[in-house]
């Protein structure tokens, strides 16, 4: 069966077919458990960070599996899971229009301003 893959994982889920969307032969069945993205807080005070993904029947199982797979060596103190299909992402095709305007605005950085050495604590 020839199918358009609309799912690209690791938090990179396109809303519609993008330039990078491959056409590939697959045999997607409704049989497999849904995919979840896992985010781990490594210690109190830090952000949750994307750790990877896994399949699970529901959120409870996704958290249990994430605990077994991603925190075997004290890597985390808190886990978030979200079903991959709920993540919306930008398209690589839009990278130029989205991110390039920031390139020429160096005045947004403190080093842009040349101050005399006599000015302290700034």
């Amino acid at each position: 069966m020839n199918t358009f893959i609309r799912k690209c994982y690791y938090g990179d889920i396109p809303d519609q077919k993008g330039a990078g969307t491959p056409e590939i032969h697959t045999d997607f069945t409704a049989e497999q458990w849904p995919l979840w993205e896992v985010f781990i807080r490594s210690k109190q005070g830090l952000d949750h960070k994307h750790a990877g993904s896994l399949h699970a029947a529901d959120a409870k199982m996704a958290i249990e599996n994430a605990r077994d797979v991603y925190t075997r060596r004290q890597e985390g103190v808190s886990i978030w899971v979200v079903e991959s299909k709920h993540i919306h992402a930008t398209n690589p095709d839009e990278a130029e229009s989205l991110y390039e305007p920031a390139n020429d605005k160096i005045y947004r950085h403190p080093a842009f301003y040349d101050l005399p050495d006599a000015v302290k604590h700034m």
Binding site: D12, E31, R72
Partner: protein, 311 residues
């Protein structure tokens, strides 16, 4: 002049060490090569649990049993990281598992050798995981982002595997005459298959050139193999054991160890499915998959029921 050719732009990105991410444009062959390599790697982790699972119930002490359980659990995790990375290229997990179970997909041939004694747990950790680590350290810098990230995670966990293997052999090497003999025997049986893990010679390998140009691989099979031999030839001295190769000798000009010819006929034979345990390994995977079917079904039914209750 800036090119608009997609293939050329892709190569420029690779040359600039910009990682390729799932939604980026990539040549079909790049996708296919990565998909093949990553899924084979995942299958190897999963099948790799079987030779060791064989010894969990027979580990000599509770400490060794706990260590072996942790190691096998790691391998299940490594398989999962890799399957997830492969899925980003557009193949479903179910499809990959099906390809493994119906014999279409390959996994590392090393796991088609039997683990006959406790010393094999040492030799597998030291030699097999040692060889895998060299490959995996290289792959931490591979050009496909999800694969590289999986490798970084795996390498962090893997180094205990090799160290515990060496330690098993170290204890045996200081034991009774029978234990020493068991240690040497395991090294003798695992040495050559470990060298085969790096794949065919560069002159025979069809995938190497393009993979290096795309920075999927950064070292050739022969380079990695030589690196492994140089490393192990020194480490074996600490065990007071020998490697079963009478041609193994330091070459001061090359600054590497010279070594004897690998039995490539055996290599291809095992790849083609005629190794000592090919059938046993696949049967075990199929049995696990079939006997786990009701669990997968039940979990889905349970999730649906719970969802209905909330709604």
């Amino acid at each position: 002049m800036a090119t608009t050719d997609m293939g050329e732009l892709f190569q420029q990105k690779i040359d600039k060490e910009i990682k390729i991410e799932p939604r980026d444009w990539m040549p079909d062959a790049y996708r296919k090569t990565n998909l093949r390599q990553i899924s084979q790697h995942a299958h190897s982790e999963i099948v790799g649990m079987l030779p060791e699972g064989n010894w969990i119930s027979r580990a000599p002490t509770l400490k060794r049993k706990a260590i072996l359980l942790a190691k096998v659990q790691d391998e299940a995790g490594h398989g999962l990281y890799l399957y997830s990375a492969a899925e980003t290229l557009g193949m479903s997990r179910d499809q990959m598992v099906a390809d493994l179970n119906n014999g279409k997909a390959k996994y590392s041939s090393i796991f088609n050798y039997p683990t006959l004694t406790w010393a094999d747990m040492g030799a597998v950790g030291w030699l097999v995981d040692g060889a895998a680590i060299l490959n995996q350290v290289m792959l931490c810098r591979t050009s496909y982002g999800p694969y590289a990230r999986a490798m970084v995670r795996i390498c962090k966990e893997e180094s205990f595997h090799q160290r515990q293997g060496f330690e098993i052999l170290l204890v045996l090497s200081k034991g009774s005459a029978a234990q020493k003999a068991m240690c040497q025997d395991a090294i003798n049986r695992w040495w050559w298959p470990s060298l085969m893990m790096f794949g065919p010679k560069d002159s025979e390998s069809t995938n190497s050139d393009q993979s290096i140009q795309w920075k999927i691989k950064r070292k050739t099979n022969d380079e990695l193999r030589q690196q492994f031999i140089d490393m192990i030839a020194e480490q074996v001295k600490i065990l007071g054991m020998t490697l079963p190769d009478d041609k193994l000798q330091w070459n001061p000009e090359r600054k590497h160890y010279d070594f004897g010819e690998i039995n490539w006929e055996e290599f291809w034979n095992v790849v083609k499915g005629n190794g000592p345990c090919n059938k046993q390994r696949l049967d075990a995977r199929r049995k696990a998959h079939e006997e786990g079917a009701w669990v997968r079904e039940a979990a889905k039914a349970h999730a649906a029921k719970r969802l209905a209750k909330v709604a």
